[in-house]
Symmetry: C2
Subunit: 134 residues, 2 copies
C-alpha cells in the first residue's frame, strides 16, 4: 500500500510545485518550462535543441514547441549550425536584460517552498532513485 502512496505523493508534489512556479512567473509572462530552458541557456551558453532536450530530459517535440513560443516572445533566437540539421539556441539581449528579475522571483519562490531541513537528504534519495530507473 505504501508504494501507491509514495508514488501518488511524489506526483502530487511535482504538480503542486509546477503550479506554484507558474503562478509566481505569471507577471513575467513566462511558464515554468520556458524558465527551465532560460535557466539552462544562461548557465551553459548556446545549445542545440537536441542538447537542450537531453539536458532537461524532455523529448524533442515539446522542446520544439517551447522554443518556438520563446522565439515569438523574443527571448531566444535559433541560429543554424554548421551541421545544417542543427539549430543552436541562445538567449536574446532582451532575455539577458530581464534575467536577473526572473531569477529573483524564482529564488524567492524556492526559498518559500522548499523544506527548511532535509533538503540535501531528499535530493540524494530522489537522485539515487532516478538512477535506479535506467
Amino acid at each position: 500500500m505504501i508504494n501507491h502512496e509514495l508514488i501518488h505523493t511524489l506526483h502530487q508534489l511535482s504538480r503542486r510545485l509546477t503550479n506554484k512556479l507558474n503562478e509566481a512567473l505569471k507577471p513575467t509572462g513566462l511558464y515554468g518550462s520556458q524558465w527551465a530552458v532560460i535557466f539552462v541557456l544562461k548557465n551553459k551558453g548556446s545549445l542545440t535543441q537536441k542538447e537542450l532536450s537531453e539536458y532537461l530530459a524532455v523529448e524533442a517535440p515539446p522542446m520544439t514547441r517551447t522554443i518556438q513560443r520563446m522565439v515569438k516572445q523574443g527571448y531566444v533566437k535559433q541560429i543554424p549550425g554548421q551541421d545544417k540539421r542543427e539549430k543552436r539556441v541562445e538567449l536574446t539581449d532582451e532575455a539577458h536584460a530581464k534575467y536577473p528579475e526572473w531569477e529573483k522571483i524564482v529564488i524567492e519562490l524556492n526559498k518559500s517552498l522548499l523544506p527548511k531541513s532535509h533538503k540535501e537528504e531528499l535530493y540524494q534519495l530522489q537522485k539515487s532513485w532516478l538512477e535506479q530507473l535506467y
Copy 2:
C-alpha cells in the same frame, strides 16, 4: 543551486514513473490516471466526482474527462445522486472482474521501480514537504 536541482529531479522522477506506469498498463488499455481512479473506487466504493477529484487532488475538469473515457470503455458508471447535481461513480462488474489482473501488473511494476531501501524515509519527507505547501 541545489534548490533548482531538487525540484528538477523531483519533476523528472514523477514524469519517468508516470511513463513507466503507462507503458506497463498498455496491454490493459488503461492509462495511469484511469488506474488511479479505479484504485480509489475499488478501495472506497462509490464516490461523487467531487469526492474523487478531492481525494486525488485533481481539478474537476480533468476528472470529468477521465471518467467519461472510462464510461465509454465500460469500466465505470455514473449514477445520479439524491442531490441531482451530483454523479456517483462506481466500478462496473467488468472492471471488478478485471481488477485483479490490473492490480497484479501495477504491483509488479512498483516492486521493480521503487527504491529497495529508504522507501519509508522518502515517503515521510515528501509528505511533510507537501503539507508545508498549504
